[in-house]
C-alpha cells in the first residue's frame, strides 16, 4: 500500500483493462468511443495523486504493492515508483485520452477493436513503468507489443505489412536476450525482485554479459543508431494514435531500461561501455539531423528527428553526471510531449489532404492560421528554442556532456543546430508556398482540445522546469551517489 491508503498503481494499471473488456459489450461506435474516452480520462484523474502525493525526498520506491504471484518461482506482484518512473506513468495517462480523441474521425473501421487495443496499450505501458519484479516487467513489456503490432498491422498505411512485422521482430529479438539476462540474474540472486538485484557487486565478467543482453534490448527500443531502422517504417505506417504511443511512450522504455536496469544492476559494465554508448548517441544525433534535412515526408522527418532526440537522452545517461541524468530524464518527457504533438499535427493535416508529403501540405499559413500556430510552437519546441521545454532538457544534457566529454559536447551542439535547420525548413515550407491554395477547414474544437494540454506543458516545462526537476532530482542524485560508491 502506498502513501494514499489504497493500491493506486494497480488501479491505474487495470482500470484501462477493465474498460477495454467493457467495450466488448457494446456495438455502437459512438458509445465505444465515448466509453474509451471516459475510461482514459478517469485513469488520468486517478493517476494524479501519484504526482501530488509523491515525496521527492524519500529514498527508494513509493506506492509499493507486494503480493505473492508465483511463489514457486519467487515471482511477485511487486509494483512501485520512484522519480524515474512516476512522471512517465503520468505522461502515459495524459496521452491516452489524447490518442482516443485524435482517432475520433480518423479510424473508420473496427472502431471497437481499435479502442480495445489503445486501452490495452495503456495497461501494458503503465505496467512496464511500475513493475518491480522481472517477470511482471517482462510480461508487460512483451504484452505491449501485441496491441501495438495490431495497431500498425490493421489500421496502418499502405506498407503496414512490412512495417508491422519489422517492428515486431526487431523488438522481440531484443527482448529474448533480455529474458536470458533476467534468468541469469535470478539464478544468481534467487529472486526476481528488481530492487534486490541492484548494486550487488557482481563480478565484472557477469556484469559485462548482462549489460550486453540488456543493452541490445533497450538499444533497439530507444532506438539507438544503428538499430533504428524499424522506427521510420513503423512511424510512417502507423495510425496517428499509434505513432504518438510509439514516439512518446515506447521509445522511452528503452532509456527507462538503461536507467532502471543497466546502471544500477551492472554499474561497472556501464562505465566500461559508456564511451561506446556516447559515440553511438552522438552518431544518432548527427546522423538523425542530416537524414531529416533530406526528408520529403513529414512523418518520416519527425520519426528521424526522434532518433536524434533520443540520442540526447542516451548521451545524458552515459555521461554519469547529475546534469546529464536530469537532462536525459527531462528530454524523455519533453520528447514525449513535443514529438507526440507533432505527430498529432501531421495526423490532422493528413485527415484533410490525405498526403504526408511536405510538398502537398505547403502554404497553409494563410488558410489554416490556427493550425500553423500550433505547428510552429511545437516545431520551435522541437529544436529547443529557449522558453520551450526542450531547451531546458538539452541544456542539461549539454552541461553534462561538456563536463564529461568535450568532444561529444561539441558534436552535440552541431546536432542541435541541425535540428533548428531541419525543423525550420519544415515549418517554412508548411507555412508558405509558391502558389495559392484552395481553402481548407482550420482546426475544429476537438482538435484544439487535445492539442491545448500539450501546449500548456511545452510552455510550463519550458518556463518552470523546477516543478518537474523537483520530482526526479532526488532519485537521480541517489542513483549517481550509489554509482560513485559502486566504483
Amino acid at each position: 500500500m502506498g502513501e494514499v491508503g489504497y493500491p493506486i498503481l494497480s488501479y491505474v494499471i487495470f482500470l484501462p483493462l477493465a474498460g477495454a473488456l467493457l467495450l466488448l459489450l457494446f456495438e455502437d461506435e459512438l458509445k465505444v468511443k465515448v466509453i474509451a474516452l471516459i475510461v482514459s480520462l478517469m485513469n488520468l484523474a486517478i493517476s494524479l495523486p501519484l504526482y501530488f502525493q509523491f515525496d521527492p525526498t524519500k529514498k527508494g520506491f513509493q506506492f509499493v504493492e507486494v503480493k505473492d504471484w508465483i511463489p514457486l518461482l519467487g515471482a511477485k506482484y511487486h509494483l512501485g515508483v520512484d522519480g524515474i518512473s512516476v512522471l512517465l506513468i503520468l505522461l502515459t495517462a495524459l496521452l491516452t485520452p489524447i490518442c482516443v480523441l485524435c482517432s475520433w474521425r480518423q479510424i473508420e473501421v473496427r472502431v471497437k477493436e481499435f479502442m480495445f487495443c489503445i486501452l490495452l496499450m495503456e495497461t501494458a505501458m503503465i505496467g512496464v513503468f511500475s513493475s518491480l519484479d522481472f517477470v511482471l516487467f517482462y510480461i508487460f513489456w512483451e504484452a505491449m507489443l501485441i496491441p501495438m503490432y495490431l495497431l500498425i498491422a490493421v489500421w496502418g498505411g499502405p506498407r503496414k505489412d512490412y512495417a508491422s512485422i519489422k517492428f515486431f521482430i526487431y523488438t522481440l529479438v531484443g527482448s529474448v536476450f533480455l529474458l536470458v539476462a533476467i534468468i541469469a540474474l535470478y539464478v544468481k540472486n534467487g529472486t526476481f525482485s528488481i530492487p534486490e538485484a541492484m548494486f550487488r557487486g557482481y563480478s565484472f565478467r557477469f556484469q559485462y554479459w548482462v549489460f550486453l543482453a540488456f543493452a541490445i534490448a533497450f538499444a533497439i527500443k530507444v532506438p539507438m543508431f544503428p538499430f533504428h531502422t524499424w522506427l521510420p517504417a513503423a512511424h510512417v505506417e502507423a495510425p496517428t494514435a499509434g505513432s504518438v504511443f510509439l514516439a512518446s511512450i515506447l521509445l522511452k522504455m528503452g532509456t527507462y531500461g538503461f536507467l532502471r536496469f543497466c546502471l544500477p544492476i551492472t554499474p561497472k559494465a556501464s562505465f566500461y561501455f559508456a564511451p561506446y554508448m556516447i559515440v553511438l548517441s552522438v552518431a544518432a544525433i548527427i546522423y538523425g539531423g542530416f537524414v531529416c534535412l533530406g526528408q520529403e515526408d513529414m512523418k518520416r522527418l519527425i520519426a528521424f528527428s526522434s532518433v536524434a532526440h533520443m540520442g540526447f537522452v542516451t548521451l545524458g545517461i552515459f555521461t554519469f553526471t547529475l546534469n546529464g541524468f536530469k537532462g536525459a530524464m527531462l528530454q524523455m518527457l519533453n520528447h514525449g510531449i513535443t514529438t507526440g504533438a507533432l505527430f498529432l499535427c501531421v495526423g490532422i493535416i493528413y485527415e484533410r489532404t490525405h498526403s504526408r508529403l511536405i510538398e502537398d501540405n505547403s502554404g497553409l499559413g494563410k488558410i489554416m492560421p490556427l493550425y500553423v500556430g500550433f505547428f510552429g510552437l511545437f516545431s520551435f519546441s522541437s529544436f529547443a528554442f529557449p522558453g520551450t521545454n526542450n531547451f531546458v532538457g538539452e541544456l542539461f544534457v549539454l552541461l553534462g556532456a561538456f563536463s564529461a566529454q568535450k568532444v561529444a559536447g561539441f558534436f552535440t551542439v552541431v546536432g542541435a543546430i541541425l535540428a533548428a535547420a531541419y525543423m525550420l525548413r519544415l515549418l517554412k515550407r508548411i507555412t508558405w508556398a509558391e502558389k495559392e491554395r484552395s481553402p481548407m477547414r482550420d482546426l475544429n474544437l476537438r482538435e484544439i482540445i487535445y492539442l491545448a494540454p500539450l501546449v500548456l506543458f511545452v510552455i510550463w516545462m519550458g518556463l518552470f522546469p523546477a516543478n518537474f526537476i523537483r520530482v526526479i532530482e532526488g532519485t537521480l542524485a541517489g542513483l549517481l551517489q550509489q554509482l560513485g560508491r559502486g566504483m
Binding site: W141, I165, V176, I183, V187
Partner: protein, 464 residues
C-alpha cells in the same frame, strides 16, 4: 479397482465403438463419441488423486500418471469435439475412426502408469498400431495419406526396434525390467558409455513419438498426408505420453551420468534448430506445425535434461500448454478447411475481416507457440529455461533463446497473413456455437496458463 476406472471406461468406450462399427447405424457415432469422451474427462478429473498398484508393481497409479491421463483424456475429448462430422473422414469409417483414436488414447493411459519395460513397450505399441490404421482414413483419397501411413509404420517400427535394443541393454546391466530395480542397478554400473547408450536407445521410442531429432523424419509427411483431425490428434496426444515416459526413463540415470545429459542437450539443440529453420520456409500450415512440433520437442527436452524435480514439473507444464495452444491452431486449420483439404498460409489472408474470433484464436495460439507473454507458451518456456539454467546448462538456454527469436518469423507470419493482408475472398466464415465455444476456451486457457501458473505448477511438482 476404482483407481483404474478411467482405463476401464476408455476400454468400454472402445467396445461400444467396436459394436457400432458392425451395425449399420453410424449416424449417431459422432455425438456419442463426444459424450463418451466428455465423461472420460470427468472421470479423469475425479480419479486424479487416486493411487494403487497392480500386477506386482508393474502398473502403478499415482498423481504423476493421473495428471498425464487427465491430459490425454482432455486431448481426446477436444480432438473429438473439434472434428466436424464427415468433413474429414468418410461417414462409413466414423466408428473405426473414433474407436482407434480411443484405443490409442487407452494405450497412452496405460503407458504413463507402466512401471516395467515390457509393459511400457506393449502400451506404446497399442497406441502406435491404432494410429497406423487411422492415418489412411481420409476423405478424398490423394495417395498422400498412404505415403504418410507407410512412413509412420516404418519409422515407428524402426524406433521400436531401437528402443527394444536399448531396453535389452538396460536388462543386461541390471538384470531386471522393473524401473524400481533399475535405478539402484545403474548406480552400481557406474557412468560408463554403456549406461548412456542403453538409456538413449531406450528413449528413442519416445523420441519418435515426440518427433525429436533424429526421429523426426516421419513428422512433416504424416502431418501433411493424414486428415486434419487425425493430425490434430497425432500432434498433441501421443506427445503427452511420450513426455511422461521420457521423464520416467531419463530420471533413471545416475547423478554422475554427464555424457547422457550432454547427449540430450545435443539432441535438444539440434531438434529446435532444425525445426525452426526448416519451419521458416513452409507454406502448408500443417507442415509448418510439424516443424514447429520438432522444435518444441527440443524445448521440452530442456526441462527433462535438467533431471530435477523442477525440470520435470516444467516439462509437464510445457506439454499441457502445448496441448492447448497447438489445438487452438489446429482448430483454425480445421474450420478453414472447406472439404478436409490442407490449408495453406495464403488461405489465412484477411482472416481478420472474415472471422475476427478465429483470427484472434490464431493470434493467441501463434503468440503462445512463439513464447510471447502473457500467454502460457511464455510461462512454459520460462520454466524450462530456468530449470536448465539452474543445473548450469547455460549453453542450451542461449541456443533456446536464439531459437525462440528465429521461430518468431514463421509464427508471426501466420498472424501477419491473418491481420495485415487483404483477403482474396470476402465471404465471412460462419462459426457454429460449438466452434465459438472452443475458440473462447482455447484463448482463455492459454492466457490463464500464462498469467496464473502457480496452482498447476504446484500440483505438478507434487507429483514427483
Amino acid at each position: 479397482m476404482s483407481a483404474c476406472l478411467l482405463e476401464l471406461f476408455t476400454f468400454l468406450s472402445f467396445l461400444i465403438y467396436f459394436i457400432l462399427s458392425l451395425s449399420s447405424r453410424k449416424g449417431t457415432i459422432v455425438p456419442l463419441s463426444r459424450v463418451l469422451s466428455f465423461v472420460g474427462v470427468a472421470i479423469a478429473l475425479l480419479t486424479l488423486g487416486s493411487s494403487g498398484e497392480l500386477f506386482g508393481g508393474a502398473y502403478r497409479v499415482d498423481l504423476f500418471s493421473q495428471i498425464f491421463k487427465a491430459l490425454v483424456a482432455m486431448g481426446l475429448f477436444l480432438v473429438l469435439w473439434m472434428g466436424e462430422g464427415e468433413k474429414e473422414v468418410e461417414g462409413r469409417w466414423a466408428p473405426e475412426f473414433a474407436m482407434f483414436l480411443t484405443l490409442s488414447a487407452l494405450g497412452l493411459m496405460l503407458l504413463v502408469s507402466a512401471q516395467e519395460l515390457i509393459t511400457v513397450y506393449v502400451a506404446l505399441e497399442l497406441s502406435s498400431f491404432s494410429l497406423y490404421i487411422v492415418i489412411p482414413l481420409r476423405r478424398g483419397q490423394t495417395g498422400l495419406e498412404l505415403e504418410a501411413a507407410a512412413k509412420y509404420i516404418f519409422f515407428g517400427a524402426i524406433s521400436s526396434g531401437v528402443m527394444l535394443y536399448g531396453m535389452g541393454y538396460l536388462y543386461g546391466l541390471v538384470g531386471s525390467t522393473y524401473l524400481k530395480d533399475i535405478v539402484p542397478g545403474l548406480l552400481g554400473a557406474g557412468s560408463g558409455p554403456m549406461v548412456t547408450m542403453a538409456l538413449v536407445l531406450a528413449l528413442s521410442g519416445f523420441f519418435f513419438k515426440l518427433a525429436l531429432f533424429p526421429f523426426h523424419f516421419w513428422c512433416p509427411d504424416v502431418y501433411e498426408g493424414a486428415s486434419n483431425q487425425t493430425t490434430t490428434f497425432i500432434a498433441t496426444v501421443p506427445k503427452i505420453g511420450a513426455v511422461a515416459l521420457l521423464i520416467r526413463l531419463a530420471f533413471l540415470a545416475p547423478k554422475e551420468a554427464e555424457d547422457f545429459v550432454r547427449m540430450l542437450i545435443l539432441l535438444s539443440a539440434l531438434s529446435m534448430t532444425l525445426g525452426n529453420i526448416v519451419g521458416l520456409v513452409q507454406r502448408d500450415i500443417k507442415r509448418l506445425l510439424a516443424y514447429s512440433g520438432i522444435a518444441h520437442a527440443g524445448y521440452l527436452l530442456m526441462g527433462i535434461l535438467a533431471l530435477s524435480k523442477e525440470g520435470g514439473a516444467s516439462a509437464i507444464y510445457y506439454i499441457a500448454v502445448y496441448l492447448f495452444m497447438n489445438l487452438g491452431l489446429f482448430l483454425v486449420v480445421m474450420i478453414l478447411s472447406q472439404k478436409g483439404e490442407n490449408v495453406l498460409i495464403d488461405d489465412l489472408k484477411g482472416l481478420w475481416k472474415r472471422a475476427p474470433l478465429l483470427a484472434f484464436t490464431l493470434a493467441v495460439s501463434a503468440f503462445s507457440l512463439a513464447g510471447i507473454p502473457p500467454t502460457g507458451g511464455f510461462a512454459g518456456k520460462l520454466f524450462v529455461f530456468m530449470a536448465a539454467f539452474h543445473q548450469g546448462h547455460l549453453d542450451i538456454v542461449i541456443i533456446g533463446a536464439v531459437n525462440t527469436a528465429i521461430s518468431l518469423f514463421y509464427y508471426l507470419n501466420l498472424v501477419r497473413y491473418a491481420y495485415s493482408r487483404d483477403p482474396e475472398r470476402s465471404d465471412p466464415v460462419e462459426l457454429s456455437l460449438r466452434e465459438k465455444v472452443l475458440c473462447y476456451l482455447f484463448i482463455i486457457v492459454v492466457i490463464f496458463l500464462g498469467l496464473f501458473p502457480n496452482t498447476f505448477l504446484t500440483f505438478m511438482r507434487a507429483s514427483f
